[in-house]
Amino acid sequence: MTDDISTLRRILRDTRTIAVVGLSAEWHRPSYFAAKYMQQHGYRILPVNPRYDEVLGERCYASLREIEVPVDMVDVFRRSADVLPIAEQAVAIGARCLWQQIGVVNREAAELARAAGLDVVMDRCVKIEHARLFGGLHWAGVNTRVISAKRPV
């Protein structure tokens, strides 16, 4: 499981498109917080939720398989028990990273994705990790564990 700073940095640097599975359109929900943050930091958000037509100004897809553009990361805001089929679809559409959000832990899904060559992150928030490693979270007084004598790039 990816847990170290250098790999998380690489994943977040290489990613351009993020399919957010289970994205809510309600502004105060954590999935909306995270997706809006990532969108503001230059990532293209591809919402996946059969309940909506559009979220954050982007067309909302009913499933990963419907997305027509290349997906770099599949970011999962669903119950742990529901992740396995999402992991299978992530592999099928050629995603490069399966990211299970804080509180989402499905080891079988993680193993499946890793065996297929995907980077796998579990039980972490993509927004918090981005803010931790590329600035921002530090201003909230959080222990980022970043120790460095280099300017962040």
């Binding site: 502004w27 105060h28 943050y37 530090h138 120790i147 004598a149 962040p152």
Partner: protein, 440 residues
């Protein structure tokens, strides 16, 4: 590559501060500004909605203050921290973030006087009641728990009692009742003791003391472990939409640093006891040498305790670092080793022997000792580089009668020393000549 785990000596210098993004400045810049511009209306909205991290106004957050916050969080092994204008402000914000009218606190009895006042007088006025219990009896903490208890509060090393809290035992009591244990860790500093390692949920500091070390600047810090189960049903303010901040659900939104965010956005934002950037910078100058100073404080204090123990002009010595101190085993379990002995910090208390064994004789001897000191400073602070002395019976506790003083752990002949980092021979010389004057 797995992340390297850094030692406290390195964290004291580096944690929370990488070279400045804008300028490359290696030392920490002082961001002496009240406010920060928004890039756009949308950026402003995202900041106010807490959807993106950033600075709005220095009452809420400030980059210089953030460096202190992250550094103390790292030194304590915590998840996040919030700085405040003083140690008392840190304690008040930790408690006010957790408690409301009708709640109850279980607190150690031998606390710093300011903490006793806050709990017994100020919070009581708000309808929050506190039961004070024997700090040495974890069972007493358990016995004092009520259905409406929402916090347990104690000091890791008492000031001025020097009582040692069995953190793991009291944390277990708090955990069994589903409430957080808040530990004031000012006297050991995070270099000598990390209460979170032993199960504490929230740590508070007066950064004015050892963290700063120079006796120039007031400040306080709250640290959160990130491990408390706020969704256990007792803390709806953490799980339900916030009336104090746009209906945000803090736990759901911020996870393991939700308490710090709530303390920042609901409590600090409204009560306003923010730390100034200049003060944060000054405190951080001290933190960079915390580990070097604490080792010297411990070494000097143990030497002073041993000197006093062997001196016939001294009637008693209380220093948890002495091997025959009743709580020495606990000190050994909880405190970092310095020179092959548990580091018990720089505070000790002793009695000046008087010609007459009564209270008046003890009082007079204590006063004489204080007045005869040459470079040991007679003042009410602790944790300075300088050696500080005070005679509580004639100063901080003088408004109490003899019986009340004894109940507060203050004896007529008691002198408290905050042993500094001057040369030990000079400290012992000043003590020796002051004892000579006191017993003349």
């Amino acid at each position: 590559m797995a992340d390297h785990s850094f030692q406290p000596e390195t964290l004291a210098i580096h944690a929370g501060q990488i070279p400045d993004v804008a300028t490359g400045a290696r030392a920490l810049p002082i961001y002496q500004t009240t406010s920060f511009v928004f890039d756009s209306a949308d950026h402003a909205a995202s900041l106010f909605n807490l959807q993106t991290f950033g600075n709005v106004y220095s009452r809420l957050s400030n980059p210089t203050v953030a460096a202190l916050e992250e550094r103390v969080a790292a030194l304590e092994g915590g998840r996040a921290a919030l700085a405040s204008a003083s140690g008392m402000a840190a304690e008040a914000m930790a408690l006010l973030s957790l408690l409301q009218q009708g709640d109850h606190v279980v607190a150690a009895g031998a606390l710093y006087g300011g903490s006793v006042s806050m709990l017994a007088v100020n919070l009581r006025k708000l309808g929050i009641e506190t039961s004070f219990v024997d700090v040495n009896a974890p069972d007493a903490f358990a016995a004092a728990m009520r259905p409406n208890t929402r916090a347990v509060f104690a000091e890791s090393l008492g000031n001025p009692s020097l009582a040692v809290l069995d953190i793991a035992a009291v944390a277990e009591v708090a955990r069994a009742h589903g409430v957080p244990l808040i530990v004031d860790n000012t006297v050991p500093s995070p270099f000598l003791c990390n209460p979170i390692r032993f199960g504490a949920d929230i740590v508070v500091h007066s950064a004015t003391k050892y963290l700063a070390g120079h006796g120039t600047t007031l400040g306080g810090v709250i640290v959160e472990s990130g491990k408390f189960p706020w969704d256990n049903g007792k803390f709806p303010g953490m799980t339900e939409p916030s009336a104090g901040y746009h209906g945000v659900r803090f736990l759901e939104t911020f996870g393991d640093f939700a308490f710090t965010m709530r303390a920042r956005m609901e409590t600090l934002r409204v009560y306003g006891a923010a730390l100034s950037p200049m003060s944060a910078w000054q405190i951080l100058q001290g933190v960079e040498t915390l580990h070097v100073r604490m080792e010297r404080h411990c070494r000097n204090a143990l030497a002073v305790a041993q000197f006093l123990r062997a001196d016939p002009r001294v009637s008693w010595v209380n220093y948890p670092g002495l091997p025959d101190h009743p709580q020495h085993a606990l000190v050994a379990r909880q405190m970092r080793v310095v020179d092959d002995a548990p580091g018990a910090s720089g505070l000790l208390a002793f009695g000046v022997k008087s010609r007459t064994a009564d209270a008046a004789g003890g009082l007079a001897a204590g006063v004489k000792f204080i007045e005869a000191a040459q470079f040991m400073s007679h003042l009410a602070n602790i944790g300075d580089t300088r050696t500080l002395i005070i005679h509580p019976a004639s100063t901080t506790h003088r408004q109490l009668d003899d019986a009340q003083q004894r109940a507060a752990g203050v004896l007529p002949d008691m002198v408290r020393i905050s042993v500094g980092i001057e040369h030990i021979d000079d400290i012992l010389w000043d003590i020796d000549q002051a004892l000579a004057a006191a017993s003349a």
